[in-house]
Symmetry: C2
Subunit: 517 residues, 2 copies
């Protein structure tokens, strides 16, 4: 044993005697906040000159190729009135036009939660963590992979609500495929309201479902309040490349019309729905998102909107999409710079993996993509917890690992505080060379808030870890989600509101025939 | 299924038909380089004002508390002649004095490898990946954890040499505890030379062992060449807080005297060997490293030296050290900024974990710490591959995963190239809305170098993954290291040099009685 390991061994033996009293439980409660105000800068990787080249390419795409807006005449009318060139469903835009239209969108807005202590500010240097969204499957170590149900949906809401490290309840946390596709949004929105007191998202899969989601928010918050404040988000996808389909633009407009925030997200798998080179995919993503953001302003000037992106790569051996790889991580940083030049709130990346298990691959890919979201300055990080299986499955264990990692990111984004206390000159004068800091006044004063303390990592020496059962992280996470669900208690909800919501849900469930696809 | 997952599913089905021919094998060979020239900026998180406050605190520590230099009168003589204040073994320094002394060290230097194609440039925007160093234990999935042997040592050298994603053979890749402690350096240095043709490190655990390591380099490169060029590194640890012991300063001076590079590394576990707050621990680390770097210049002006650091945190519940946590990751960024203000090559962080298995925790912690090393601008990243168990074990499987991740970082550090080809305007004009890019001329021209392709991640759909045995990443890595060792071929070594080295090793093995501690 030499070098660092020798030092470690020597010091560890020496320091295990005199140390401050143990802190109970993991998770560093002092870091808990309703959302993060980042104390570290964004990581700006591209020069002004190169950012301008990307914007100019996006302008050329918008002017020379254009975007198709299918199955939504109202949207075409909007564009016509705004001065775009309409050719069938193809719309072309003069350079700079969309940046002008989008300038009425707010740089920052508050999304209200039914518990006002959980309101989130989206934009600026704020960061909001929201769980993963949209997987048809769920998995856990006991039962493997299967289609999600409304029971899984509720379980995952409860796990999210129980974590101090998420800030938002999310939306389609998994697909409850045991409910008809045309009705499940009712139970999903109800479950968010019932089992969480955080902000949430509604449906976008049909205009009617978007409107019913918003209507349920009106029952909860009051119609006047909803007209003046953001209380629900809708995540709309571009049908890349360069197509907005009517389902999405109608949902987008439903949210904007109600003064609620659409999250505009192209899904670009480089080489398939966009160019195989990052710069071109970024230019396309910028163009597609910009058009969606601008459309919200034509529907209702001043409506909140979030500039999103979803770049991914593909395995050129198998043709499969890949996630948590370096190229989209770097791409997010550029998208972040571009969004800041538009002065819009940003959604980027999230915690993605293509692993089919909550294993080393899952966290390698997850951490790389999640850190890129943090570094690029994303304000709303959808998919912060749970995804495996290339977006197709929500893993109960990975959900627990990821929310724990979100906790670590609270500490990471607190950065380095430099003041007389943290510089610790008094400690150096007290301790001096060759002694240790464990019992020093400075340590006693600061140790309780000093370091992030994971609830699912094992930091014991090898022998103690072996005695405790030689568990891996997934096994510990399995134990933890069961404990959390067993101990879960729903936040109180006004009885009259609960009844009104149940009445709305059941009335609408009865009013339509079931549709299953 | 809604939103992103729906998009994915829809596109994946659509795109699996017409695509470019499969690329054989993983790993993206086009990225292979002898070392990385970073094309992304450093991530500078602290303001000039706060950096100056940290430097001023370091100056106060050096002037008011001082550093003890034990059991090495020559070092005390150096300091006396340089104008420091000597009080027994305690040495105090006027503010600014050490920065003046260290200014003769080179900002960048070349470390020569026996294969000149593998020479590495250390400093500037260059990045060199070197495997982990110093663990007494090794582990693999078949045989669990046990003490390392010279056979393990050779196996790990071979695995390193076989990976295109490391640039350096490292040093004590594991401790060969089956050899006497006073002789094992001879077989270690010989193994690096024999089984790798990359640059390597020598012993530091005694002055004699450092000198014998350098002597073997002279046999390989010629004494005159070694006197004028760096061919071997020595990693020396500060006995934090604020103590340099004689073993380390004598080894440091042996390397500097021979014009070889010492890597100067305080090992600070916040709350034990340094303050529990990051800013103070950084100031201490800066002071300790600066003193070591300056000492190399007093031994031989102009000798190369690397400014290192090793900050870690502790679990305040158990008192155990923690690795790959957010605080040291953030701390590295600040150390990087400080080292650049000194114009010295930098070593920071590496791939650390406290997990006892190559599991999700191992990669979560490893990726966080490794990305901090990349972002902070580290030039020489020791511990790039293999560590688990809080520095105490080298894992064969994690070694494979980490070298694969080093490959991903080649792509990450290539950043975003912005030019007419990557902006892909021709592809947008060719493909247009609603079609796909798989068969486009732009894709055909670029797909072979487009994306990082991992050799141990699984990117297949769930069903294909299940059919192939439902493996986790550790299982795939286990298979891979066995295959790599089976296929390993030693790089050719001049027979006369090999014989001279064997003769030197065996002569010195016989000349001394065995010592086992």
């Amino acid at each position: 044993m030499t070098g660092d390991a020798l030092e470690l061994d020597r010091r560890e033996r020496r320091t295990r005697g005199n140390r401050p009293a143990r802190r109970e439980g993991g998770g560093t409660p002092s870091l808990k906040v309703p959302f993060i105000r980042r104390n570290i800068p964004t990581y700006d990787i591209l020069s002004e000159e190169n950012l301008v080249r990307i914007e100019q390419t996006a302008d050329r795409i918008l002017a020379e190729v254009g975007i198709e807006f299918r199955d939504d005449p109202v949207t075409l009318d909007h564009w016509r009135r705004a001065g775009a060139e309409i050719d069938g469903v193809r719309v072309r835009f003069e350079p700079g036009m969309l940046r002008e239209v989008v300038s009425t969108a707010p740089a920052t807005f508050t999304q209200h939660a039914r518990n006002p202590a959980n309101n989130v500010e989206i934009g600026g240097s704020n960061v909001v963590f929201s769980p993963a969204y949209g997987s048809p499957f769920v998995m856990d170590l006991d039962n493997g992979r299967r289609y999600g149900t409304i029971e899984d949906f509720r379980n995952l809401i409860k796990l999210g609500q129980s974590s101090p490290w998420l800030h938002h309840s999310g939306g389609t946390i998994c697909e409850p495929v045991d409910l008809p596709v045309n009705k499940r949004h009712l139970e999903m929105v109800y479950s968010h309201i019932k089992y969480s007191d955080r902000a949430f998202m509604g449906s976008v899969t049909a205009e009617e479902r978007a409107e019913e989601s918003i209507e349920m928010a009106r029952i909860l918050f009051g119609a006047d309040f909803v007209d003046q404040n953001c209380v629900i988000l809708g995540n709309v996808n571009v049908n890349s490349p360069l197509v907005w389909d009517g389902t999405m633009t109608k949902a987008l407009r439903a949210y904007a019309r109600a003064n609620q925030a659409a999250v505009i997200v192209p899904f670009i798998l480089g080489g398939a729905m966009g160019p195989v080179t990052n710069a071109g995919a970024i230019a396309q993503s910028y163009a597609e998102t910009l058009a969606g953001c601008a459309l919200t302003q034509l529907e209702r000037k001043g409506a909140p909107v979030i500039f999103g992106n979803f770049l991914s790569s593909m395995s050129l051996r198998s043709g499969s999409p890949t996630f948590g790889t370096p190229e989209p991580a770097i791409g997010s940083m550029v998208i972040g710079q571009l969004a800041r030049r538009l002065n819009l709130p940003l959604r980027c990346a999230g915690n993605f993996s293509n692993s089919k298990l909550p294993d080393a691959q899952a966290m390698q890919e997850g951490v790389m993509s999640m850190l890129s979201a943090v570094h690029c300055g994303a304000n709303f990080i959808l998919h912060s917890a749970g995804f495996v299986d290339g977006l197709l499955s929500m893993s109960y264990e990975k959900f627990v690992m990821d929310t724990d990692f979100c906790g670590a990111l609270h500490s990471y984004m607190a950065g380095v505080v430099v003041d007389d206390n943290t510089l610790a000159m008094d400690a150096f004068l007290e301790v001096g060379p060759g002694s240790h800091f464990l019992g020093s006044a400075h340590t006693m004063r600061n140790y309780q808030t000093a370091f992030w303390d994971s609830a699912v990592s094992d930091n014991e020496p090898f022998e103690k870890w072996a005695e405790a059962g030689s568990t891996d992280m997934a096994t510990r996470a399995n134990k933890q989600w069961k404990k959390t669900l067993a101990e879960y208690q729903a936040p109180p909800l006004d009885l009259a509101i609960d009844e009104a919501l149940r009445d709305y849900v059941e009335r609408n469930m009865r009013a339509k025939p079931d549709a299953w696809y």
